[in-house]
């Protein structure tokens, strides 16, 4: 309640006993932001469900998904979404619960896949049963996590990030070249197949039942995720879970409260590694091979994007994040899908940012007029600039031809425009309100020009990662706690 303004009015009486209690502390046990309205109702109802039931909220639609769609869609969207989600859930324990920035996480994932491959593939002619192999893989990966994590006891925060990033890189170098190592006693052993990887990894074989094919694997993954989620819901409310969160909020205060900080950090790290190793084993059977290229920085960034989108520490948010991050790039593969997504995002941003409506209408009209003017001038002065045409043959693409510039055989113009665009966005942020209003239409036009002529052309190459990188920066600027994460209200 506020007492500012000095208007002489008494503040509205607050219901319930509030005397002597800080308002925020009274409302929540943590220091968390609370939503109001529909969102708040949903959130509160969700919080009241028992942990197992919360998992069902996500598990039931996911279980129905393969029944309503084709095998190909289950493979393309379903399997990878679940693999990413399981990976992100494990990473969330390390980063979201314990606050350790682990950039070597993918190496544990790769280690799981390789180790399962060693236990169950023609490489060493081992064909272990899954009920034996999976626990062994999980324990071995967790042990590796322990080894990597031990020096991290000494590493305060950021050093851990670089040490683990280096570890991830070292892992890729190692599996790429391990076929050339001569061991001191054993002699030459081809552990990883080098750059060809381990091929022909067995499907999981539980007591004679083989988990083979898209749908059985999908359900296996779904059950695994549900079990891990239920486990985590319980861990979250346990002594350890509370200690982890205390540690993330303030390591020094946690230590003063006699929480064993180092041991808990290590525990979180090892837990995350175990989940990653398990996911790796699943991925090994899914891909029937372990290839060094699969465990590179690209995947690490994807998993981080999922976790950030979901919000640190929020487990259901991560499932949503996995769905978004794994299906959007798949959708973006086709330029027919990419264009509506891009323009939709821009339209949404303008709708949210530009108020009042009069200003919005004015800016859009200015943009359209600007486009026609530029097109007319270019057609008269430099016809070369309009000789190309938009990708696609639908109505929208043909309409764009009369409005947007499409230079022919002039990669240089487009490249320069891209660099100018980046510079323009940086400068635009420093400008005052008036200049922003005036310069917004040309900036949008430039953005669309670059999109149509460069980014859309390269949609399967660099574009998707560029958009991902830009998204990370923009998201951190707008909501440092992640999309679905809750802001922590500082009580000073």
């Amino acid at each position: 309640m506020t007492l500012e303004g000095g208007s002489g009015q008494m503040p509205a009486p607050v219901e319930g006993p509030r005397i002597g209690v800080d308002e925020w502390v009274a409302q929540v046990e943590g220091k968390r932001e609370r939503y109001t309205g529909v969102r708040g109702v949903i959130e509160r109802e969700f919080d009241r469900l028992p942990p197992a039931a919360r998992v069902l909220v996500f598990a039931i639609p996911a279980a129905l998904f393969p029944l309503v769609t084709t095998e190909g869609n289950v493979f393309r969207y379903g399997l990878f979404t679940l693999v990413y989600a399981l990976l992100a859930i494990g990473l969330n324990v390390v980063v979201g619960f314990a606050g350790l920035l682990d950039l070597g996480y993918i190496a544990f994932f790769g280690f799981g896949a390789y180790f399962y491959g060693i236990l169950a593939s023609p490489q060493f002619n081992n064909h272990w049963q899954a009920e034996a192999a999976i626990p062994v893989v999980i324990i071995a990966t967790a042990f590796l996590g322990l080894l990597v994590g031990l020096p991290s006891r000494r590493l305060l925060g950021d050093y851990l990030a670089i040490a683990t990033l280096f570890f991830g890189q070292a892992f890729v170098v190692f599996v790429n070249n391990a076929n050339r190592i001569n061991f001191p006693f054993a002699g030459h052993v081809d552990l990883t197949g080098g750059s060809n990887g381990l091929a022909g990894i067995d499907p999981f074989n539980f007591f004679g039942y083989k988990v083979q094919g898209t749908r059985p694997l999908y359900y296996f993954l779904l059950i695994s995720i549900s079990l891990v989620l239920i486990l985590l819901f319980f861990v979250n409310d346990s002594r350890t879970g509370r200690a982890w969160r205390a540690l993330r909020e303030d390591p020094l205060a946690a230590e003063v409260m006699s929480i064993p900080v180092n041991r808990l950090k290590l525990l979180a790290f090892v837990f995350g590694a175990g989940v990653a190793g398990f996911t790796g084993a699943i991925y090994g059977t899914l891909a029937t091979a372990a290839l060094p290229g699969d465990y590179d920085v690209g995947l690490l960034i994807t998993i981080y994007a999922i976790m950030i989108l979901g919000g640190f520490g929020s487990m259901m948010g991560i499932v949503v994040g996995a769905i978004v991050v794994s299906s959007v790039p798949e959708l973006l593969r086709a330029s027919a899908n990419a264009r509506p997504l891009f323009y939709g995002a821009i339209a949404l941003a303008i709708l949210v940012k530009l108020r009042p409506w009069r200003r919005l209408g004015l800016e859009v009209a200015a943009l359209i007029g600007f486009g026609f003017a530029v097109h007319a001038i270019a057609a008269a002065a430099y016809p070369r600039l309009v000789h190309g045409s938009a990708i696609g043959s639908d109505f929208f693409a043909r309409a764009l031809d009369h409005w947007m510039l499409f230079p022919q055989n002039t990669k240089n113009i487009v490249d320069v425009a891209y660099i100018i665009l980046i510079a323009a966005i940086v400068v635009f942020r420093q400008l005052g309100q008036l200049w922003r209003t005036v310069l917004l239409p040309p900036l949008l036009y430039l953005l669309m020009f670059v999109w149509e002529n460069l980014l859309l052309v390269q949609i399967n190459g660099a574009t998707r990662l560029i958009l991902l990188g830009a998204l990370l920066v923009a998201l951190m600027n707008a909501r440092p706690q992640g999309l679905f994460g809750k802001a922590y209200v500082e009580i000073v």
Partner: protein, 308 residues
């Protein structure tokens, strides 16, 4: 002992080491002031190498340049350093400044985003193929030797100019008013701002200098190794940070020594350790872990007492 191999390895280690030291300086300065791991630093170095390449080709190319070789070189360095400096300041404004009071992990993620963005923008604009510096005709291929130490011209140029830059930086930080402001900001940002120091400006200057040094290192890499590509920043950034940690992060002489240690270690590992040319990065990683275990604060770093 094969002394000529040893001297060859030493010279190439020193060359690599001065590159790493220049990169490490940028990391260390930024970390000292903001306690932020600037993941995008390696990519700034990559952009520097490309800016140098464009300056070289803007002046007529390496084979028959419009000016004398030395002038072309100076223009290349100035272009790369200025361009990268401005880029560094822009990155700080755009990606880090809004997050200065956010939880620690937010700027790290933002830095990761900038790094991906720069890398893939370079892939988009410059293409995936290697670009040749091909500067051998420009600066000569003559090899000098002092006893058994054989130096090629680019190697000599790199080591000497790196040392000059480091001396200039040390003098700047130790003697100038702005350098003093930087040191006090690194010591205690809040107190510095209460003493009337414009902390935002100091941070901008720090980013400018650090990124300019990385840009110079990028050009040097092109001169020595001849080929540049869009992904070169990742590993170089990793090694630069390793150097900064080994030397003691936040300490400028530490970054220089750390760079030389990492460069020499990598070079000797290539020559002497089993399968060194394949696993050199693994050996550097092992060195990093070893140093962290024995001296967590680095060779020249001071142990910090954690404050709330």
């Amino acid at each position: 002992m094969n002394w000529s191999l040893f001297f060859d390895l030493t010279v190439s280690g020193l060359t690599l080491g001065s590159l790493y030291a220049l990169i490490a300086l940028g990391y260390s300065m930024v970390y000292g002031i903001l306690k932020l791991l600037n993941f995008a630093h390696g990519d700034v170095y990559m952009i520097g190498a490309f800016l140098g390449w464009f300056a070289l080709h803007g002046l007529g190319g390496p084979v028959n340049p419009d000016f004398a070789g030395a002038a072309v070189l100076v223009v290349m360095f100035i272009t790369a350093m200025l361009g990268c400096g401005v880029l560094g300041v822009a990155i700080e404004r755009f990606a880090y400044r809004p997050l200065r009071n956010a939880p620690r992990i937010a700027p790290l993620i933002s830095a990761l985003g900038v790094s991906i963005f720069l890398q893939n923008s370079a892939l988009l604009v410059f293409g995936a193929s290697f670009r040749d510096y091909n500067t051998f005709s420009l600066i000569g291929v003559k090899v000098y030797h002092v006893g058994n130490l054989f130096f090629s011209v680019p190697q000599l140029l790199t080591v000497v100019s790196a040392i000059c830059l480091m001396i200039a930086l040390t003098v700047f930080v130790a003697r100038s008013r702005l350098g003093k402001a930087m040191r006090s900001t690194a010591y205690d940002r809040e107190a510095a701002s209460m003493m009337g120091i414009d902390v935002d400006r100091v941070i901008s200057v720090t980013f400018f200098i650090g990124s300019a040094l990385a840009g110079a290192a990028g050009v040097m890499f092109g001169l020595v190794f001849g080929q540049i590509f869009h992904f070169m920043g990742f590993l170089a950034g990793l090694k630069g940070f390793t150097a900064a940690v080994i030397g003691g992060i936040g300490s400028l002489p530490g970054a220089m020594i750390g760079g030389l240690v990492v460069g020499l270690a990598e070079s000797y590992a290539t020559g002497y350790l089993p399968q060194g040319s394949t696993f050199q990065n693994l050996y550097v990683f092992a060195l990093l872990i070893l140093v962290i275990l024995i001296r967590p604060s680095g060779l020249l770093g001071k142990a910090v007492v954690q404050k709330a």
